[in-house]
Symmetry: C2
């Protein structure tokens, strides 16, 4: 079985070497062109009660430490798909920081973009789940990311941002760091993927929306982002009734908010709907095709992924002759989710983004890449951790094929 | 200011050297005679919400990792008072295990009694506290201690148990390990201190009560232990009304349960009453005085502690001429708690035990030692961790003096 986890090949070792070291003058062209990911590295503490827990008591159960943080999860997932992300983040010299860095180093990834400082308290998020797997209580201790991941730190890695095929930022960044990152990307025509993290943080898109190429909200984040961008609370979260909504109903309900994002400059909105799949939306299909990645793609590292997926998900086969261009300038495709034996839902959205970015970097088109992203997300909901230990290429391609073949175009009943 | 934290003196270094290494045949007499502590080493994850938290949500706050576990805390506290505990426990090759062991090694303490194994999941306890500092939810993941701290492992350190002035066991041990430990101690006339850990685990005293010299329950644990020993649920937890109970009322209410323990063989019952102080009970005062520690006490290491406390808490001054012997064979003394600026109550009971044991090993008598224990507990409730980083001897002795001078004999209205 062809697995992605062989990190010991001589080819990989050589590339690992090239990736390290700050950019020096005159070296810009030599920088490795792998995805750059900026945002949170977090230690997740997940405690699950093994019996019914009365509030205010301690019950027996399991406590598991997981490496987390949206940006870290995305980068980790990308690395499992044989692209080599360059991570920009901040951790302290404490137990959580050591654990996060040890994993990064043992995966052969560069830690030069990860700031360490005596004053940094590494971000930790602690959740207690009840017997049914639902959150009973949770505390997030993550200020250090906003405080220490400054524009000044990020600017040290301008050369990486100048040459990367894509920059991913998560909304754990403070507004000035988000702006600095996006402006640097714009300067080099680097596409930006904005991951909203949470409803509260998703509103931070407002100051950078004009620079964002991809955004990946869930329904509630989409509504919050549209309200933040509009400067008024005009959109309401969807109220789910007991009857299941059709994908068309979902689309019709979310379309006004999606349109706000697209109108303000976002090129592609990827709305995650949990077990209802994913909506991929852009202003017209041609807009998707214009998303050219930098010339040196596909990376030879990701050639395997490209070949495996491109064979089973033929480019343009499904939508080549669609009529959507004629009736609307809002292009929307629904991708189904894959059936999964859910262990824990954490990490699913992050692996969707990681799988999609790795696929884009491998030279696959946006629709093929989203199909891979959904296949990558399926694997992680079936394990405890936020990112699977490894991916099996054959299974991933097969699952991507199922998703891709189940994709349907949604008709917009009105123009944007 | 005289502090206990000077680990760099040549004297200490030499003694540290003697402590390491398994006992070999013919070497029994050379074993160091420091307190042996058997029980849990636990990583505590304490998350505190910084705002009012609705149930089922994640709120901003602080997440702090603390080294914990009752036995570990007691041993750590003992080491801060210049006795050198020998710890017998079990941890895994995981993050929590590494953290616990690193601290132990950096304190210059022996880790040879701490079993490590690939299959051990280091014990972790996770608590989420609300804004008021009360437990909102908690999960304990501690089976590994019961599973891996076996009689077989403990028996490897028979020579330590043979020569220690005191053996402390916590009720995290399974029953067969508790029995094996106590039987070994009995074989060598080593006094045993039983720390009940929790209401549920405190019941484990039933199978070893005849070997126990000291037990240190709180009110609820005392009731559970008395019921377990009696084999019937005849005692009920005290119902606290809104009016504050006097120390005499406390004593009268708890006396039947205390008497069960004393009648079944426990020599000294130390009941912790939180801010109401401590009750020290034995069958007659002379019984306390018979608690001879092994001949080589006080250890020269603890000479400072002995001198400082013995000067300000004169032995036998308070109770030398008491009439209690005539009217009852239940000897009971109430010690007041010290006023404290409480940060967190965790660790208070463990430092009470650690301070008392360190003082006993230094050659102080039981009443002097309990006064030091209460002074040691005061320091820890004023910090976040389970054991203070260091103790100031002058302050400790001064606080012990306050406690000792505030101690009062309680009159029993009936015989046992």
């Amino acid at each position: 079985m062809n697995r992605f986890s062989d990190k010991s090949s001589p080819e990989n070792e050589t590339l690992g070497g090239i990736q390290s070291g700050f950019c020096k003058e005159g070296q810009v062209k030599k920088c490795r062109v792998e995805p750059v990911v900026i945002g949170g590295m977090v230690l997740d503490v997940n405690a699950t009660s093994s019996m019914h827990a009365n509030p205010r008591t301690t019950t027996p159960g399991k406590v598991i430490f997981s490496l987390g943080g949206v940006a870290r999860n995305v980068a980790d997932c990308i690395s499992k798909l044989e692209a080599r992300p360059f991570m920009i983040s901040a951790v302290g010299f404490d137990m959580a920081g050591n654990m996060l860095l040890e994993h990064w180093e043992s995966a052969g990834l560069s830690i030069e973009g990860i700031q360490r400082h005596q004053n940094i308290e590494t971000a930790v998020v602690c959740h207690i789940f009840d017997q049914k797997g639902e959150v009973a209580a949770g505390v997030a201790h993550v200020e250090s990311i906003e405080k220490f991941l400054t524009p000044r730190w990020i600017e040290k890695f301008k050369c990486k941002i100048s040459s990367t095929p894509i920059l991913m930022v998560d909304a754990n960044l403070n507004s000035s760091s988000l702006e600095a990152s996006c402006q640097m990307a714009a300067q080099f025509n680097t596409p930006v993927w904005f991951e909203p993290v949470s409803v509260a943080k998703s509103r931070r898109i407002a100051s950078v929306v004009q620079y964002v190429t991809f955004a990946s909200p869930n329904e509630d984040e989409l509504v919050a982002m549209a309200n933040a961008i509009s400067g008024r609370d005009i959109f309401q979260p969807i109220r789910h009734s007991s009857t299941k909504l059709s994908k068309d109903s979902f689309f019709q309900m979310l379309k006004p908010a999606i349109s706000v994002l697209l109108y303000k400059g976002v090129k592609v909105v990827v709305v995650t709907l949990g077990s209802e799949g994913v909506l991929l939306c852009s202003k017209g299909k041609s807009n998707l095709q214009k998303l050219a990645f930098k010339e040196n793609q596909p990376s030879h590292l990701s050639r395997e992924l490209y070949e495996a997926v491109n064979t089973v998900c033929p480019r343009d086969q499904l939508f080549g002759a669609s009529m959507c261009e004629q009736i609307s300038n809002l292009f929307a495709v629904h991708f189904p989710a894959l059936p999964a034996s859910v262990v824990r839902l954490t990490g699913a959205g992050d692996c969707l983004v990681g799988g999609t970015i790795a696929s884009l970097c491998a030279g696959l088109d946006v629709m093929q890449s989203v199909a891979v992203g959904i296949a990558a997300a399926k694997v992680v909901v079936e394990v405890e951790s936020n990112v699977p230990d490894e991916y099996c290429l054959a299974k991933l391609a097969d699952n991507a094929r199922s998703v891709y073949s189940g994709a349907t175009m949604l008709l917009s009943q009105s123009k944007l």
